[in-house]
Amino acid sequence: MASLVQAVRLALHYGEDKLGVTDIFGEDAGPPLGGIFTATQGLKTAWNSPLDERGLIGMAMGIAYAGGRPVAEIQFCDYGFNVIDLLKIAGNQRWASAGAFELPLVVMTPTGTGIRGSLYHSHSFESWASRLPGWKIVMPSNPLDAYGLMLSAIRDPNPVMVLLPKALLRVKGGEKIPGEPADELELSRRIDAPVGDRSDWIPQWPDVEPYFIPFGKGALTRKGTSATVVSYGRQLPICVQVANELFASGLGDVEVLDLRSIFPYDWSLISQSVAKTGRVILVNEDTEVTNFGEHLYRRIVEEFFYDLLAPPVLLAGKHVPGIGLNQEYEMNTVPQAREIREALVKLLEVQP
């Protein structure tokens, strides 16, 4: 089974081959490295850029203006904070020109904790990104979704940001990418660059097939009736695991929604689940003051105030200036399985 980062690479290959991608670029995105997480290895349009995120986003905008289809990688989302103005502008060009200019560009960037990245490689970006009108923002939690969302990002004629959960990049999925070789080792032999000198290496791309996950479509990852968990990205598999454990312990049958699209989010999915369960918990690891989960929280309370059986709960990262290197910091800063379990148990116990 492909890992998440392999799925991204396969999607980019499909994008180059079939969807008109002209440029995949970023710091260390081209040969020999092919991205510090290997997301861009072996791709024919991948190239290395200067160390300059402002130039990077400007370049993507220019390419898109002139009819190209760029995919720009910001090496870590932590290094995108000096280009918020350009991201805002990319998001407003169509609106500002009353429909005259489109900017079909994709920015992909690793986000979140889980690689022991300390202060400057652990930021979450979705709350910031959700504040960029004109953009579509997605975050997969498994390889197949990464593939399907990346293809949609490339096909969509608007700016799309693909947030890749750092912690899950090397995690393999439970389902195959359409067209993925049966044998996982074969996949690796075909598309992973060899260790050492790779100057003569050429990938043997499998014939992957189109698979578009539409924006605004979440996934009902675990069906349940007692409560609703809304999550995405790195926290999603943790939430599923906790839900399964709770069920096994007979403590409840919790529904877990994988948002997949941060914006537009799948309101239909959320609202139907909340209407059914009356109990909801929102889980993400971004800092908790002005957190994207608070937007959903507000929407849910506005619409389901009289149906809710308990006050909704937000579990998010602490409002502190950084995430420390020693794991004591990270474990006590972003939600852990234990806290999710405790919060869910408490939520299920509330008597309306």
Partner: protein, 384 residues
């Protein structure tokens, strides 16, 4: 425009400060564009004072250089043609390219008919896809980060189109000015970017020389091997040739070039600073007219007729435009998103928060059905 050009012998030329020249019919064409541009700006300044409009920013004092620029643009749509990444003082550039004067008034008066932004953006903030004029932003210098992108696509075409980026002298302090040079001179991949700085000596109230040690702005190109020239932007002939040479270089070398135009700022920074006429600044239009007369290329009566005609044109345009419709509440969210085949919420355009727009309202209650898990049929396998 009813005024006829005075008959010109094909030999006649306008001679500039440094002995170079341009044909007299070209000089008169430029003059006409300059006059018209000046009248548009002056009309707009009046409107900003009368309360008909809120804000003015424009290019009085830059008409000589900008007219010469606009006339030499390879105008059209797509990477076979020049891209323009402009500053907000490019009114004369746009006039030279052929924009109808009323277009500026529509913008000034924030009419729904404003072709640039439907009354959303400031005057001078053009967005004209047919001519590759990408949206002008107020955010100083960001256009310099974008220009290498269009130039990269042009480089690949192996034709002669270039990307022209224009900014002010204060703006060069932003990192994006350097980003433009870095990204346009990557080894083996120099890009055809014509970097223009219109140096009017000020950023709002701050004199250039109080903040900048660079002797000439074009010196900033030296470390990157980018050649350049400083031209007197108040002199039409010098401007014409400076631009011609710069474009020639970019078009044939497929490499960047830096052009600094020393220009005047005749009405202060914008309406925010009052936009009163500034004493003591050289006026490129007066200079040109003096030369045209001194060199026997135009009589005072002809020049006056050109002004009268522009004045009249403005009045007519204003009358027409004032009557045009304003945007309405319904216009607020439109043109946010291009239609997308892969968006379940915004297949056509943004229409409010998910579940809140007219479409969302339709959806509410579940016409989508509960979307499936990623392996269920709820997830589409489009394109198969």
């Amino acid at each position: 425009m009813t005024v006829k050009f005075p008959p010109q012998s094909s030999k006649k030329t306008l001679v500039g400060r440094q002995g170079k020249s341009i044909p007299s019919d070209l000089a008169l064409k430029i003059h006409q564009i300059m006059v018209r541009s000046r009248h548009i700006d002056e009309r707009m300044i009046k409107m900003s004072k009368s309360g008909e409009a809120f804000f003015w920013i424009g290019g009085p004092g830059e008409e000589a250089f900008n007219s010469c620029l606009g006339l030499q643009v390879k105008r059209g749509k797509g990477p076979e043609f020049d891209y323009l990444h402009l500053h907000y003082r490019s009114l004369a550039t746009m006039q030279a390219m052929g924009l109808e004067p009323a277009a500026s008034l529509r913008q000034m008066l924030m009419k729904r008919t404003d072709r640039n932004s439907m009354g959303r953006n400031f005057p001078g903030h053009y967005a004209i896809p047919e001519w590759n004029v990408v949206p002008v932003t107020s955010v100083i210098e960001v256009q310099f980060a974008m220009a290498p992108g269009t130039a990269l696509m042009q480089k690949r075409l192996s034709q002669d189109a270039i990307s022209i980026v224009v900014g002010g002298d204060a703006g060069i302090a932003e990192g994006d000015f350097t980003s433009c040079m870095t990204w346009s001179t990557r080894p083996g991949l120099r890009l055809p970017v014509l970097m223009i700085v219109t140096n009017n000596g000020y950023g709002i109230s701050t004199p250039h020389e109080t903040q900048h040690s660079e002797k000439n702005i074009i010196d900033r190109g030296i470390p990157f091997g980018i050649p350049g020239e400083v031209v007197d932007g108040n002199d039409v002939v010098e401007s014409w040739h400076g631009i011609q040479k710069a474009m020639e270089y970019c078009r044939t070398e497929r490499a960047p070039y830096l052009l600094e135009a020393q220009v005047s700022r005749l009405h202060g920074h914008s309406s925010s600073s009052g936009a009163a006429r500034v004493e003591g600044e050289k006026d490129c239009l007066e200079i040109l007219e003096k030369h045209l007369m001194a060199q026997g290329l135009a009589a005072r009566e002809y020049i006056e007729a050109i002004h009268d005609s522009a004045q009249q044109e403005m009045q007519e345009a204003a009358r027409k435009v004032l009557a045009e419709p304003n945007p309405t509440a319904a216009d607020v969210p439109t043109h946010t998103y291009a239609p997308s085949p892969v968006d379940a919420v915004y297949p056509v355009d943004f229409d409010g928060l998910p579940g809140k727009g007219p479409k969302g309202q339709r959806d509410k209650g579940g016409s989508h059905g509960v979307p499936g898990s990623s392996s269920s049929p709820g997830t589409s396998l489009w394109g198969r």
